[in-house]
């Protein structure tokens, strides 16, 4: 949701800054501060623009952190088992380099297909209509990656004690993101990889289906049976983090863990008769 210069986006800017007006006491003041006025106008445009040209640079900064982390703790691996010996690893270059290069090319192919042939596929026709603060579109549909959270926002249609439905929706929406940051403490399992956790695997895929469902619901008008479905999906979303993760880690019986990454790889290759067992890898070390 970028420049509030077109109809859809200016609606979006109104909605986004509207979240803050839900905060008790200071909400209205914060909203006006963000908008630079009482409604979406040029100051808002400037502010959102500054934010959006700044974000890529911040992402570039995070990429630097990522490379630093890669050098300090190494790559993770699908077995979730610590590196035990030299045979568990291979050099970053050429092994990880060439593999990632191929992955990047596959991504670029799909990306280029959309850029050159379907540039408007993920957009909305309203983005080509000039913004008019007096006319907000009937259904504001955010960008596709916001849809699940938008569905959660609109799923809270009831008041909870002193929290009215608007503040409740905003809290639920930000809470759904906050959950991701709490995962290290919510997950009680001693096994790191879902490969060895059949029940967790099931719930993980249910969670994926739930997120896609929420995404679809976010693109539908908030009326009729859609609201109920969104409420159920939101319930499962939070239950996954707050109930499934802590409880399942305690009661689930994981499958047998291999002793090392090497063993895991050799076991996997036994049937298919894979390569030479000289050096097995799933966790290339970072040097190189």
């Amino acid at each position: 949701m970028c420049c509030p210069g077109d109809r859809c986006r200016s609606g979006g800017a109104t909605v986004i800054t509207g979240f803050f007006s839900a905060i008790p006491l200071v909400g209205e003041w914060i909203q006006q501060l963000l908008l630079g006025g009482f409604a979406v106008d040029n100051p808002t445009l400037n502010r959102f623009f500054s934010l959006h040209y700044l974000l890529p640079f911040m992402i570039a900064g995070v990429v630097v952190l990522h490379i630093w982390a890669l050098h300090v703790v190494g790559q993770s691996n699908p077995t979730g088992i610590e590196v035990k010996s030299k045979t568990d690893t291979v050099a970053f270059t050429p092994y990880a380099t060439i593999k990632d290069a191929f992955g990047m090319l596959v991504f670029l192919f799909i990306f280029a297909y959309f850029v050159f042939y379907l540039p408007n596929f993920l957009g909305h026709p309203d983005n080509y209509v000039v913004a008019d603060p007096l006319k907000t579109p009937a259904h504001i549909v955010p960008e596709w990656y916001f849809l699940p959270f938008y569905a959660i926002l609109r799923a809270i249609t009831f008041n909870i004690g002193p929290i009215n439905s608007k503040l409740g929706g905003v809290l639920a929406m930000f809470g759904s993101i906050a959950m991701l940051f709490l995962v290290p403490w919510l997950d009680t399992s001693k096994v790191r990889s879902a490969v060895y956790r059949p029940w967790y695997k099931l719930f993980f895929w249910l969670f994926v289906i739930d997120a896609v469902l929420l995404g679809w619901l976010g693109s539908q008008p908030a009326e009729g049976s859609y609201v109920f479905m969104a409420q159920m999906a939101t319930l499962f979303y939070f239950a996954f983090f707050l109930v499934v993760l802590p409880v399942l880690g305690l009661i689930e019986t994981p499958r047998r863990l291999p002793n090392s990454i090497t063993e895991a790889v050799l076991e996997k290759n036994k049937g298919g008769g894979g390569g030479h067992p000289a050096r097995a890898t799933a966790a290339p070390e970072t040097k190189g």
Binding site: F102, D126, V129, R192, L206
Partner: protein, 319 residues
């Protein structure tokens, strides 16, 4: 995806506690998973059935008071600019320009299109100059501080028929005719699941021109008995936002004279003006698709080479 739970637990302890119970739980686990999956499937199917039922009920609502618009989906036409190798048909764009100039321009502006860009339609520089000169452009202020009129030049933009949106709305029963520069991309009827998935592979991106063509040819249809058409509006089952709109049927057969022998029908006019509006909204469509094809071929070849290299590199390592 799974978070690391820290090193405080040694893998060894894990192993000892788990292997013992492993045998028993495996067979049992599989069965429960399958049962729960089946149950879940039932629940999902139930919800889906309930919702489709509800939606069907809504649609069964009386024909005279529809709740979903447009009433009819746009008709999908064959456009020369569709698909990976699509190009504009210049003769068609010239006809479309003629329809715009002689019909639509009376109400609709096209403020973002400059005369000079009309060379894309196959006109020579001199022709564009002559075409621009047909228009009177209000310019200024001059040294005396006054606005003045002068003939148009190629760097001018199409002048608007009304001085402002309010005047346009006042002259058209309260609804300002939208600017046409981007209109072909600013309208599109939602495709819905699963069609939007197929659209990725068929590269369907002609929702705008399909909509405009259907709208312009949709005035013939009669409203169902009992439907209320608000005063001053015109029934059109293809209109995206209601049963009727403020624009009267702008086209009739033989209204615009074509010099190239194309049929002078409403259908042909609509097609031509829709194609022209697509060009106005996306003049670089051909270059985009042409470049895209080269880029994809390059990525395909490069990707294949990198894939083979990767296989070679990893060949000696178990993974």
């Amino acid at each position: 995806m799974t978070p690391k739970s820290g090193d405080r637990f040694s893998d060894k302890i894990m192993l000892e506690t788990t292997t013992a119970r492993q045998r028993i739980s495996r067979g049992f686990g599989m069965k429960t998973i399958l049962t729960s999956l089946a149950l879940l499937g039932l629940v999902l199917a139930g919800t889906a059935a309930a919702t489709t039922g509800a939606i069907a009920q809504e649609e069964a609502h009386s024909e005279a008071a529809p709740t979903h618009f447009p009433i009819h989906e746009p008709k999908e036409m064959d456009w020369s600019f569709a698909g990976p190798f699509g190009t504009y048909d210049k003769a068609q764009l010239q006809r479309g320009l003629k329809v715009y100039k002689e019909v639509c321009a009376a109400c609709h502006s096209m403020k973002l299109v400059a005369f000079r860009t009309l060379e894309d339609l196959g006109y020579s520089e001199a022709q564009v100059k002559a075409l621009a000169a047909e228009y009177t452009i209000n310019d200024g202020p001059n040294d005396a501080g006054e606005m003045f009129d002068r003939p148009g030049i190629p760097s001018d933009y199409f002048p608007a028929p009304y001085p402002n949106d309010q005047a346009a709305a006042a002259a058209n029963g309260g609804a300002a005719p939208p600017d046409m520069s981007l209109l072909a991309k600013a309208r599109g009827v939602t495709r819905g699941f699963p069609r939007f998935v197929f659209d990725i592979f068929t590269q369907y991106a002609q929702g705008g021109p399909d909509y405009i063509h259907s709208l312009l040819t949709g005035y013939d249809e009669q409203p169902p008995a009992g439907m209320e058409i608000p005063e001053g509006t015109h029934y059109n089952p293809y209109f995206i936002a209601g049963v009727s709109l403020k624009m009267p049927n702008p086209l009739s057969d033989d209204q615009v004279t074509y010099d190239d022998g194309s049929p002078q029908t409403v259908d042909q006019y609509s097609r031509d003006v829709s194609a022209f509006l697509m060009w106005a909204a996306e003049p670089h469509l051909e270059a985009r698709k042409k470049t895209g094809f080269r880029v994809l071929v390059f990525l395909l070849l490069f990707g294949a080479l990198v894939y083979l290299t990767k296989r070679k590199v990893w060949a000696g390592v178990a993974h």
